[in-house]
């Protein structure tokens, strides 16, 4: 038994673990969204570096010509996916929403976020899983 719990009443102990559970939930959300974010960025660079010729790749190569490595995931890359491949609109749209949640988590949570919905590990997992299943990422030859 860690000394830190000495003197805790039962409700305080329960509240402590509830809080820890909530924080773990949020940390997992942050990591999941970041992992999918990386997938989109890697796919973007793969299409550009290998001068792929499909419509999406051409679109993203235009983005790169204008913005290079500074292309915004939200404004440029995800918008390109939605425009060129409307079948991905729903999955990409949900992911864009989750990005706002990730932004709030990652940048100090010091404001009240305007989110379209409540997020938790399960909803974020579902969103990320939908992206993985509906988006045909080009697998990068390099990976972390």
């Amino acid at each position: 038994m860690p000394d830190a719990f000495i003197g805790y009443s039962h409700p305080e102990l329960a509240a402590h673990f509830d809080k820890q559970g909530e924080e773990l939930n949020r940390t997992m959300c942050l990591n999941l969204i970041a992992a999918v974010e990386a997938r989109f960025h890697k796919d973007y660079l793969e299409r550009v570096y290998n001068r792929k010729k499909d419509p999406l790749s051409r679109r993203l190569r235009n983005v790169y010509a204008e913005h290079g490595h500074r292309a915004s995931l939200d404004e440029h890359i995800l918008e390109a996916w939605k425009e060129v491949d409307p079948r991905t609109k729903s999955a990409v749209g949900e992911f864009k929403g989750a990005l706002k949640f990730q932004h709030w988590l990652a940048h100090g949570r010091y404001w009240v976020p305007k989110l379209a919905r409540a997020y938790d590990f399960f909803s974020v997992f579902t969103i990320c899983e939908a992206v993985e299943s509906r988006i045909n990422f080009i697998d990068a030859i390099y990976s972390a």
Partner: protein, 180 residues
């Protein structure tokens, strides 16, 4: 055996081995200990009260705990100028101690724990709970009888220490919860 029968057998075994927690005895011990704590604190504060620097009052409060239910207690109020400090019992069902009282002011909180008189840190208590043979046998359910317990000031984690309660340590504690 059917699943229902298995469940029934399981629940019977649970009932047979259910530990009867002596909640009433625990409650009575805690009530007496809290009253003794308040009496000591009032004694500490007599010089300051006599000089008109402090006023002490009590209000009724209650505690709700598992196995015991709700019972009446008192909260001590210390008034000094515009500041108010409340000293209130948290309960007897706390981890690693026989009871807890908190003192709260505008500048923070101090925790008092009712622990074995000889304990100066949590490890001492947890060792006792494990069955330290050096301790005398006790009729109390948890080993150390009430007469061998004392209220001590618990320092905050991570390195919790128990400080003996006396006029000097209580003064320091009271100062820490008052703001300038």
């Amino acid at each position: 055996m059917s699943n229902f029968k298995e469940l029934e057998e399981f629940l019977r075994r649970q009932k047979d081995t259910e530990q009867k927690v002596n909640g009433d005895l625990q409650k009575e011990n805690f009530i007496h200990a809290t009253a003794a704590f308040y009496s000591r604190v009032q004694d500490f504060l007599i010089p300051l009260v006599d000089e008109g620097l402090l006023a002490v009052d009590f209000v009724n409060s209650s505690i709700t705990a598992d196995y015991v239910g709700t019972y009446d207690m008192r909260t001590m109020l210390i008034k000094s100028g515009n500041q108010r400090v409340t000293i209130f019992p948290v309960g007897s069902a706390v981890i690693g101690a026989y009871g807890r009282i908190d003192m709260r002011g505008d500048n923070g909180r101090v925790t008092f724990l009712w622990v074995p008189r000889s304990a100066d840190r949590p490890r001492a208590i947890l060792t006792m709970a494990a069955g330290d043979q050096r301790l005398p046998q006790s009729p109390s359910p948890k080993g150390v009888p009430p007469a061998e317990r004392a209220w001590k000031i618990a320092t905050p984690p991570p390195d919790i220490r128990f400080i003996d309660l006396n006029p000097e340590s209580f003064s320091d504690a009271l100062m820490s919860v008052l703001h300038e």
